[in-house]
């Protein structure tokens, strides 16, 4: 349905990772000064009743209530001017939605359905922050207050009643989840990172974020190990001490560029003999592989390589995408339920103060 040019309208205008290429998103992204400038201009623009600005690395979106559909186009022009985009350029990549569609879009954004990584939770915090700022600066009124409150409820419902946020989708976090299913609490586990490469360190950091605080980095070159250990706040060790290190470690993430196996099945077997009932989780992040596949046959040893972790991550992502369709249906219903509460404020001739007729 086209936007009514003469009557009040709830609108969304902006650009997201779905509509705008990276170079344009870079141009559109607003730093603090530009955001303040934009807000000041919008407040001064005739026809603007309420607004909130959602500004993240993947989207710049202006949610608002305008006294007429006609006024919305002038807001887009203001956005173009502040960001330095050509009006035509912005028009080509921008999202412009109103009423039902704008509410549904906000619901989907807050629930993580419109994110690059479907189901991610960070966006909800960003939407909350955008609303808090708008509330503090008194940019929002009865319509957006209601819409945002309902947005948070809808997003919470989606997170708790669907599987859209379940299952990790990066290699490192999948490994952390698996470790949780082996050891439970990770705070008491000892992590051994073999190789000072980026992927190993990222994995170590993912473990740290889940409470692991005993990290040792082992490398052929001790200086490299020291450098990497400093980044993780862990200890450095030489690869020559690997048998002893293996016996003490619970989780081993290996990512060297060695052409032969760094951890042989015999080494893992020897390590297991000194560990009693404690399992050993071997994460092979290297190509060619660092861990001899026969190590997986040992009792209480769990070996996962890059392919295994990628398969799990892809499976989780596919599951999230499948769940997204179910979520969209729920959100459409919620929009329909919310609309009668908002509509009375958007009647012809309304000045934005009519109490809702619910």
């Amino acid at each position: 349905m086209p936007m009514d040019p003469l009557n009040p309208v709830l609108f969304l205008v902006g650009a997201t990772h779905r509509t705008a290429p990276l170079h344009l998103r870079e141009k559109l992204s607003l730093d603090e000064a530009k955001a303040a400038q934009l807000a000041a201009r919008l407040r001064a623009t005739p026809g603007m009743r309420e607004f909130a600005l959602l500004n993240t690395c993947n989207r710049v979106e202006l949610y608002g209530v305008a006294s007429s559909g006609h006024a919305v186009h002038s807001f887009r022009q203001v956005l173009a001017e502040i960001t330095g985009c050509e009006p035509g350029e912005l028009e080509a990549v921008s999202v412009l939605q109103h009423n039902h569609a704008a509410i549904t879009h906000l619901f989907e954004v807050a629930a993580g359905l419109d994110s690059q990584i479907v189901g991610e939770a960070e966006i909800l915090g960003q939407v909350k922050e955008a609303y808090a700022t708008a509330q503090e600066k008194k940019w929002v009124g009865p319509v957006l207050n209601r819409v945002f409150q309902k947005t948070f409820q809808a997003a919470k419902h989606i997170r708790t009643h669907t599987a859209v946020g379940q299952g990790q989708i990066s290699i490192a976090t999948v490994a952390v989840d698996l470790a949780g299913k082996i050891f439970g609490d990770l705070t008491e586990t000892h992590i051994l990172v073999i190789g000072a490469g980026e992927i190993g360190l990222k994995t170590a950091q993912a473990f740290q974020s889940r409470g692991a605080n005993s990290i040792t980095v082992a490398s052929r070159t001790f200086a490299n190990a020291e450098q990497a250990a400093a980044l993780t706040g862990g200890w450095a060790a030489s690869l020559a001490d690997l048998p002893e290190l293996l016996a003490k470690a619970d989780i081993v993430a290996s990512s060297t560029s060695a052409s032969d196996a760094v951890i042989t099945a015999a080494m893992a077997d020897a390590a297991m003999k000194t560990r009693r009932a404690r399992p050993l989780f071997l994460i092979d992040l290297a190509l060619p592989r660092d861990v001899e596949p026969a190590a997986a046959e040992l009792s209480n040893v769990f070996l996962y390589n890059l392919d295994d972790l990628a398969t799990i991550a892809e499976g989780n992502l596919a599951q999230r995408r499948a769940e997204a369709a179910k979520c969209r249906a729920i959100l459409t219903e919620r929009t329909a339920a919310l609309w009668p509460q908002v509509e009375p404020y958007l009647q012809p001739g309304d000045n934005g103060t009519t109490p809702p007729q619910v």
Partner: protein, 281 residues
Amino acid sequence: MSTLLSDRTLLWIGALLYLAGFAIGCLTLAWRKNSGAPHAILKTLLTGGLFFQTTGLYVRGIAVGGCPLGNTFELFQFVAWSAMVLYFIVGSAFRVSLLGLFTAGYAAALAFISLLVPQWDLVRGLKIFGQNPWIEFHAALAVFSYGVFGLLAITSSMHLLQTASLKNKQLDGLFWFLPSVVQLDQINFRLLLAGVALLTLSLSVGAAWWVRNTESVDVAKLTVTVSIWLAYLATLLLRGRGRLVSVRFAWVCIVLFALALLSLQPVNASRHLTAPVPAAR
């Protein structure tokens, strides 16, 4: 309630509630929900099941004038009851997700098997405790330890499932709902310790009376009971020394319990003096 419902009817209701709890738990898993209302329903059903089973056993106890452990039916019911009581005592302390579901399935299976084999409840041992409360205590404690070993077999099965999922990289189904391998291993060790302690105490009490009258105990029963105790004790020692761990430890716990359970019926049948079950049923 005893005048309105017979002991067997009460035990049937208890078994049905356990089964309903198990079914609700399975449906909850299928819907991928592990908290909230379904969890409360499961708890309520298990509480109801335990109430009816306890009442049923109490009514039977009043009728037979002692702890109802006189035939295979009563023994199976008592083992199922012990496992459920233990679940309510230790389940919350261990915070093991799905333990309620597994215990419900296990208790329902034992209760239904005992109820569906009428021959097990036609006759019962006559004066099996010889009016001696210590012998009664010894017997109740021994069967209660079987309840602990039953729960151990459940957590061992959970351990095997979790390990198999991780080894085979089959991470669907119950995997994300089950506790971690290490957590299950620790629980198994503690349950084994508790079971062995209870059985040791029970056998000590029994032995104190047995030495005064060695003919009072059937040889087959004595041999089987002591063998089971020794097997569990050996398992505990091997586990403590780190010689029997992980999957092998879990398998041993399951096999030992299966043997212990299977021995109940023949051992019970070897008793000489029996009488029809009193008419209170």
